[in-house]
Symmetry: C2
Subunit: 144 residues, 2 copies
DNA sequence: TTTATTTAAGATAAAATTGTCTTAAATAAA
DNA sequence: TTTATTTAAGACAATTTTATCTTAAATAAA
């Protein structure tokens, strides 16, 4: 569904958020231990999320990554996905056609449109907070 | 949504089917002209679809590709997709986790499951015949 | 100030996907 | 039978994605 980069980004954010709820900053090594991802690649991805303001970071000893608690419910899944993969998942035709006549669509068109709308809806309505709380309460386990 | 290989495969099949409805066999060169795809790559993909019996072929002069008319409504989109990309799109978790506890799913789980079920449903219920008829009646244009 | 620790950034490498090229096999017509 | 045409198959190449490695910059503690 998503690229590896986006997958790692989502998992990293969920872990960082879950720890930020406990007032803990986390180092990248701790993150990848908990989400089972390659450390340098993950660092690059989380770095990109820092750049767009989804995550905060502090360099040096006692540094690490964290997420502002009061912003956790404002940051949605779609922000992470688009920050890493862009919005190409939501645009264009499922068959890869450049443009199609909306007035004479193929048999799959409206189903495609609906499925993508549902996906977008889900990403738009699910916040980091919700997912982090799921992790905190042991509902979802990032490792496996 | 799908890989390039699958995209080309779908478009090629639709074109071949639309011509088979007119009792025409088509050469690979004609196919790629109409679907705007790289010829050798497309040939390889269509060849794979021949192997699994979705398309028929005849070598030599006056040869080409065609699809049995009476099978067009039996061949569904899902057959093409799985023949090329396998069934990985339908399996596993959207977050890339290996396995998750069904009894304690994350907040996105059921939405993910539903979206994928819808996608699978669409591919299962849409036949080559429907898409080829759409093309024949000028409803969908493969080139753009 | 010096040192150790950590993120930041960018070069490099490996793997997967996409795409090309060459040769072989099949087959129909001359 | 010979030739031309077409698919079949597999080697090769380019591109994109994924992953690693190295060095720089920031910063906190000693
Ligand atoms: S009509 Fe069909 S082919 Fe055209 S954009 Fe919609 S889904 Fe794609
Ligand atoms: S519960 Fe969430 S993380 Fe687990 S398999 Fe379902 S969607 Fe994936």
């Amino acid at each position: 569904m998503f690229s590896k980069a986006t997958e790692y980004g989502i998992k990293a954010i969920i872990y960082i958020a879950s720890q930020s709820m406990l007032e803990r900053r986390v180092k990248i090594g701790e993150v990848v231990e908990h989400i089972d991802s390659p450390v340098a690649f993950t660092a690059k991805i989380v770095g990109a999320l820092v750049k767009v303001g989804i995550v905060q970071s502090i360099t040096g000893p006692y540094g690490g990554f964290y997420i502002d608690r009061h912003r956790m419910d404002q940051i949605k899944m779609i922000d992470i996905v688009t920050a890493i993969d862009g919005d190409s998942i939501f645009n264009g035709c499922g068959l890869g056609l450049k443009e199609c006549d909306d007035e004479q669509p193929c048999p799959m068109h409206y189903k495609f449109v609906q499925i993508r709308a549902d996906l977008k809806d889900m990403l738009n309505s699910t916040s980091i907070l919700e997912l982090a709380e799921g992790l905190k309460s042991g509902k979802s386990i990032l490792m496996r």
